[in-house]
Symmetry: C2
Subunit: 448 residues, 2 copies
């Protein structure tokens, strides 16, 4: 048996300054791309071997796309034009600023500069029961698992005796009214209308209820009140049950109880309610606030000039963004690109340039011709034009990301038709042994 | 928690004859398609919710294709034009000819005709150790698991200290020189030459050894000696180590020992050495021979006029095929179509027509411009023309199967370029806890 202790990082020695990037998300890949050249040795660590285009992850969960449409192997992204770039699929266990080393599962590596670009993880606010029974939507395996859960629920709803249990299979509760929750709800509504009635001719999908639960008083709280109001109307038009000002008290895998006492029986609770920074051990508590690293305008973690944080894990307080930048792709991309420039300044002993966020606006999609956009200068779009803007932006970024016209054509084709051909039930992990229906799944697979 | 006992099959009552089809493979879908109409109620059971184009499964294992390119949801295949067709994703536990019922995990169903189209499963010849440690290649999750294992091995080989352990990660042993083993070996050789050196610039892939082990004295034993000889030459040209007349004695997850005593250290043993019929409980032993159901020329199981078997699970002895038809897609497809005709004859009290297999020949691919074909009348093709024939046949069947030009274009594009974009490590099942590197995988995923 191969033990971890037999592994080593195997990074070549170098006389160039070594930049260690922790995380291959939007921030990590952009700083790595811009550092390409002869000046640095770049080492990237990630637990996964791929970069994900996470804004479309919900499409994997609703069987609209396969993982390869939204994820790209990191080794492939950095394979040819990137000299002295080294990827290792390994988990980072800590940073040691005193010795200037990064610790991983398989050994330590000295750094000259380390960039924390680890993003966020699901936040269950300490509720272990919810963590155990709910379905998160942060990673590719999560999306595949949720997809299997949804399809399996329909299969079982089609075979259940007790109407009350059937209803609990047909009740989908999404907790969290941010972009993930809203786009997932919209996509499930389209599935309910256009796909499922064909697949399950004997079933009455008017009984399928999609609940969207939000603790604040509006959906899409990071967007403008105008877009929130439009989104709420769109969601209601496609038949989503919205519960605002509602917090989850508990969920035991069968019944979700809200603060206030209301209950819904559901076998599928999707947790999109919050994230917290995926922090790395080794920096003192005063370097963080609310789970994010406090950084100056050069993305340096306060007190540690050789340690940088970018993207969702960074907390840069500016006059315009006193609570930090929004937790979306753009700040991560821009900070990554900007930091590469500043690292060059550092080794050339030039003055650093402060980061300034260029807000391109934000978008959310609910369904065909139903989208909202907040643009700079307080402009708001909705309806067909916002939908076209959403498509354009996503196609534009996917072109850069995938660089493959035919894959893109395939994506557009799948997106515009309702020919979702990917409704395959393939459980990626059976890690939740006691969730609904697992007895059935396990017996089907002869795993018992 | 939802228990199996709360489920029921929920098939509507009918006055039409009810045909129960067990299995949604090539045989099952073809009989179901041809039975479409007003004369029968058709019920199909399968443990998976999809039909797979298994001749291309090895492409999923070598990251050439994603599962959706080779698998199609059964509900989608039969969604619109098929009246009174009922699919249930449920495991069949037995047939009771006395009561004319089929038993499933969730209840029994009376039948008028039952068609066993369950195909084959991996045969480990009773060796539990090999079953535990080797990687099969029969199902979509198998292929995804093998893909992850291969990619993970390369990641680890890149980080290993001990050169001997590194070599055991770079030794891939395929047991079984039939079509699956040969095509997988060829595909791995292409990966080694065109893909891996770009992905792992620091690694020396001339050290990656691909062994193909066959118990008989030639590869592709079902094909002609001419094609076997050509295939052997092709495999050697692309650097496959072929071991003929070699049987596996044991494999403990680290070392494979052959009968005769030779040993190879490998972390990845792929088991493509044999299959046995996936039989269903309930028929007496005399209805079977070598794990397959003995059927007459109408595919009726001997002694049970209402029980039919088609495809790999059927053993029809004919003058031309005394050992039964070959275990490939064509006999299953043709028997399925033919049986539908005979079922109509039965209910119309017309005489039955005996099945006659139209042998279209067989094909295997080793690499670009390297393929072999045995055609009727003892004709053999090889090289570019056989390769074109292989492409044409697979494209032809995929068109019928997927009915989507753009998906097909995508497939052809991926096939012809080396732009395999699907090298994502997503373990579908962590069911082998003690195989090589699982400690690492589990710790990476925080599963411990």
């Amino acid at each position: 048996m191969l033990h971890i202790k037999e592994l080593t990082l195997n990074i070549p020695d170098t006389t160039k300054p070594r930049v260690v990037i922790i995380g291959g998300g939007f921030g990590g890949i952009n700083v790595a791309r811009k550092l390409s050249g002869k000046e640095f040795q770049v080492v990237m660590f990630d637990r996964q071997n791929y970069h994900g285009f996470w804004p479309l992850l919900y499409q994997v969960a609703t069987a609209g796309l396969e993982p390869d449409a939204i994820a790209e192997p990191l080794r492939k992204m950095f394979d040819e034009d990137y000299e002295d770039f080294h990827f290792r699929q390994v988990k980072v266990t800590g940073i040691n600023p005193a010795s200037k080393t990064v610790s991983t599962l398989v050994g330590d590596l000295p750094y000259d500069f380390v960039i924390i670009a680890t993003g966020t993880k699901s936040n269950y606010f300490g509720n272990e029961q919810i963590k155990k029974y709910s379905f998160p939507l942060k990673q590719v395996p999560d999306a595949l698992n949720l997809r299997s859960q949804l399809l399996q629920s329909f299969e079982q709803a089609n075979m259940i005796k007790d109407p009350e249990v059937r209803q609990s299979l047909l009740n989908i509760v999404i907790v969290g009214g941010g972009p993930t929750g809203v786009e997932l709800a919209g996509s499930l509504a389209e599935m309910r209308k256009h796909v499922l009635p064909n697949d399950y001719p004997g079933m009455d999908f008017s009984r399928m209820n999609i609940y969207l639960v939000e603790g604040l008083d509006r959906v899409l709280p990071p967007m403008s009140p105008e877009s929130s109001a439009t989104t709420k109307r769109y969601l209601e038009e496609v038949g989503i049950n919205i519960k605002l000002n509602t917090l989850v008290e508990s969920y035991d895998g069968e019944v979700v109880t809200f603060k206030g006492g209301e209950q819904i029986k559901t076998q599928t609770l999707i947790w999109a309610a919050g994230v917290s920074g995926a922090q790395v051990a080794g920096l003192p508590p005063e370097a963080s606030e609310r789970g994010r690293y406090l950084v100056n305008h050069f993305n340096q973690v306060i007190g540690f000039p050789d340690v940088f944080a970018i993207g969702d894990i960074a907390y840069m307080k500016t006059e315009k963004w006193p609570k930090g930048h929004p937790g979306v792709a753009q700040p991560a991309i821009q900070q990554g690109q900007h930091l590469a420039k500043n690292l060059r300044h550092i080794i050339r002993r030039e003055p650093l340039e402060p980061f300034e966020y260029f807000d391109k606006g934000s978008l959310a999609i609910i369904g065909r011709n139903k989208a909202v956009a907040d643009l700079p200068k307080n402009m708001h779009l909705k309806g067909f034009i916002a939908w076209m803007a959403w498509l354009f932006v996503h196609i534009y970024y996917l072109i850069g990301f995938r660089n493959k016209l035919i894959v893109l054509a395939n994506w557009v084709y799948k997106f515009f038709t309702y020919e979702n051909g990917t409704r395959l039930i393939i459980r990626p992990f059976l890690r939740k042994d006691d969730i609904a229906g697992q007895e059935f799944v396990r017996k089907q697979a002869d795993l018992d």
